[in-house]
């Protein structure tokens, strides 16, 4: 294995046509993109670097995780949160316009060795979990999803997620699902918890707490990180995460790490 980049999957730089830009809530929108050429294999938790046009304060591309893929129709769906100028500008993109992407980037969640698996997403971190659930399902797994949101209004794509697994919810105000954050959910109570592996994506505090819980309880846990990034291909060394083996690039040696390898 080459130590300065771990993924050998070929990366592409391609133009996609916007088929649909749907506003899901105040902060979230969904982009459905079509490419003329056949899509390469995309793995769960991989991401794309999106070119942002006409935003003077945005110089770099924006790393966005893959929300869903349709190989028959050559489409990729992205679930995007408006986090700053770049993602705000991108939210104005309209049907028929062209979006340039570099993809697929990064490593991926590893395929479980056995059932049962729990997929945990918090806020924008739910984005990669749809494709992950669908992907795991193809391999005969029956994933359980636990999705954490701020309140009932911020729950995203409920019908879609519920197609690919047994879905549980938490909201901070208790307006939907159980009240609190994901770790407060009754799935984590000792008499109920029966999962062999956790896959998670979400805010750093959530992942840290989840990772700590998983290590204490001897449960295997992979998390997908979203460090600030420039190139996305392992050249700039800006997105590093401290690990037991030193600094690793989240873009090429991540975004997925096993929590036992992380120093955070």
């Amino acid at each position: 294995m080459s130590y300065y980049y771990s993924m050998k999957m070929k990366k592409y730089i391609q133009d996609f046509e916007v088929l649909r830009n749907e506003r899901l809530s105040k902060d979230y929108y969904l982009l459905k993109l079509w490419c003329e050429e056949e899509l390469p294999v995309i793995m769960p938790a991989q991401f794309a670097e999106l070119k942002i046009n006409d935003s003077p304060s945005t110089f770099l591309r924006r790393p966005i995780s893959i929300h869903d893929v349709n190989y028959e129709k050559n489409t990729i769906t992205l679930l995007i949160r408006i986090a700053g100028d770049g993602t705000a500008k991108l939210s104005e993109i309209r049907q028929g316009m062209i979006l340039n992407m570099i993809y697929p980037l990064g490593n991926s969640f590893s395929l479980p060795l056995k059932d049962k698996v729990l997929l945990v997403g918090g806020g924008c971190g739910v984005a990669p979990m749809l494709y992950t659930a669908r992907y795991f399902m193809q391999f005969g797994f029956d994933p359980t999803l636990l999705l954490g949101y701020r309140d009932k209004e911020s729950v995203l794509r409920r019908g879609k997620f519920e197609k690919y697994g047994n879905v549980f919810y938490t909201t901070e105000d208790g307006s939907f699902g159980e009240k609190g954050n994901v770790l407060n959910h009754s799935l984590f109570s000792p008499e109920v918890f029966n999962f062999t592996k956790i896959y998670a994506c979400g805010p750093e505090a959530m992942l840290k707490n989840l990772g700590k819980w998983a290590i204490e309880h001897g449960v295997d846990c992979e998390v997908s990180l979203e460090n600030l990034m420039a190139c996305g291909v392992g050249a700039c060394l800006c997105c590093v995460q401290n690990t037991n083996e030193g600094h690793k690039c989240v873009c090429t040696e991540g975004p997925v790490f096993n929590v036992k390898d992380l120093i955070w």
């Binding site: 300065y4 110089f59 190139c231 050249a235 700039c236 997105c239 590093v240």
Partner: protein, 303 residues
């Protein structure tokens, strides 16, 4: 047919386009996007005598038309470069230069000595201008005395092309350039990044773990261009120009200002195939304006 070949003080470049150190990894990160053999050359990541972990995260802050970085020369050390990385890249048909950095003169010398043994590395770029390490780096490049000393010592052991990368964070870049020329540099490259800073107004904290970092990208281009123009008039050795080059037109401007070759840096982060687009664009420019030989453009600024 346009001639793009340049004799860069003994280095034969098939075109004037190289990549800037620290923006292009070891080249292999970009082979999905471009054919490395088409480049005039590429300059690999800053290499030091010993392994360096670099600075803590966060190391990057985006700015209007650019970015700040504070990577701090993260690399595996020269031995790993020679044993593991060099064999993977040595057969590309282009000029591969190694950017050599250090925190003491002995480190620069020892590193350069090891690189000197590698047959397919025709030159080094001596980095006396990294703003992101505490000792050494820029400290060598900001005074004529220390710049002279490090170049003189490296020159004694390094027999091939010695390019010296200059810092723009000085009062008079021309005098530094003249000093390194006098002490044996075969060429100079300029500019490295400008020392800058970014603050998060919401949290009232610096955006970089090191508080300050190096600014690159189109934001610095006019200053870099001015410095290349000043230096190329004042030295006889060729100048490799860099600083915010995104397009072929940017590259042409540096050539007109007096650079004999250019480096594409931060652009690689946004457009991984930027170098090839720039080479194609230079060819197009030459055809459009009846330039038969790229050398006609070098220092061709009209009054």
């Amino acid at each position: 047919m346009v001639n793009l070949e340049i004799n860069f003080n003994g280095l034969k470049l098939k075109n004037p386009v190289l990549t800037a150190s620290g923006t292009f990894g070891y080249g292999t990160e970009f082979t999905d996007f471009i054919d490395l053999n088409r480049l005039g050359g590429f300059i690999v990541k800053g290499t030091t005598l010993n392994h360096r972990e670099g600075n803590p995260y966060p190391r990057m802050a985006e700015t209007p038309s650019g970015m700040l970085n504070a990577v701090g020369l993260q690399n595996k050390g020269v031995k790993v470069f020679c044993d593991k990385i060099y064999p993977e890249i040595k057969d590309y048909k282009t000029n591969i230069l190694v950017n050599v950095s250090g925190s003491a003169i002995e480190d620069y010398v020892a590193t350069a000595e090891m690189i000197n043994t590698l047959d397919n590395i025709p030159g080094i770029e001596l980095n006396i201008s990294c703003p992101n390490v505490k000792e050494g780096g820029m400290a060598f490049g900001t005074s004529c005395v220390s710049a002279a000393e490090v170049v003189k010592e490296v020159r004694k052991v390094y027999k091939k092309h010695l390019m010296v990368k200059l810092s723009p964070n000085v009062t008079d870049i021309v005098s530094i350039a003249q000093t390194v020329e006098e002490h044996g540099a075969d060429s100079v490259s300029l500019v490295n990044t400008f020392l800058g800073m970014a603050i998060d107004a919401k949290t009232r904290k610096p955006k970089l773990s090191t508080i300050t970092g190096g600014l690159s990208g189109p934001a610095i281009k006019p200053i870099a261009l001015r410095m290349v123009w000043q230096v190329s008039k004042a030295v006889k050795i060729p100048v490799c120009g860099l600083g915010g080059i995104m397009t072929a037109e940017d590259a042409i401007e540096f050539l007109l200002a007096g650079a004999s070759s250019i480096q594409v840096g931060t652009a690689n982060f946004v457009e991984p195939d930027a170098t090839i687009k720039i080479i194609e664009g230079i060819k197009y420019y030459c055809r459009k304006y009846g330039v038969k030989d790229i050398n006609e453009l070098i220092g061709g600024l009209k009054s």
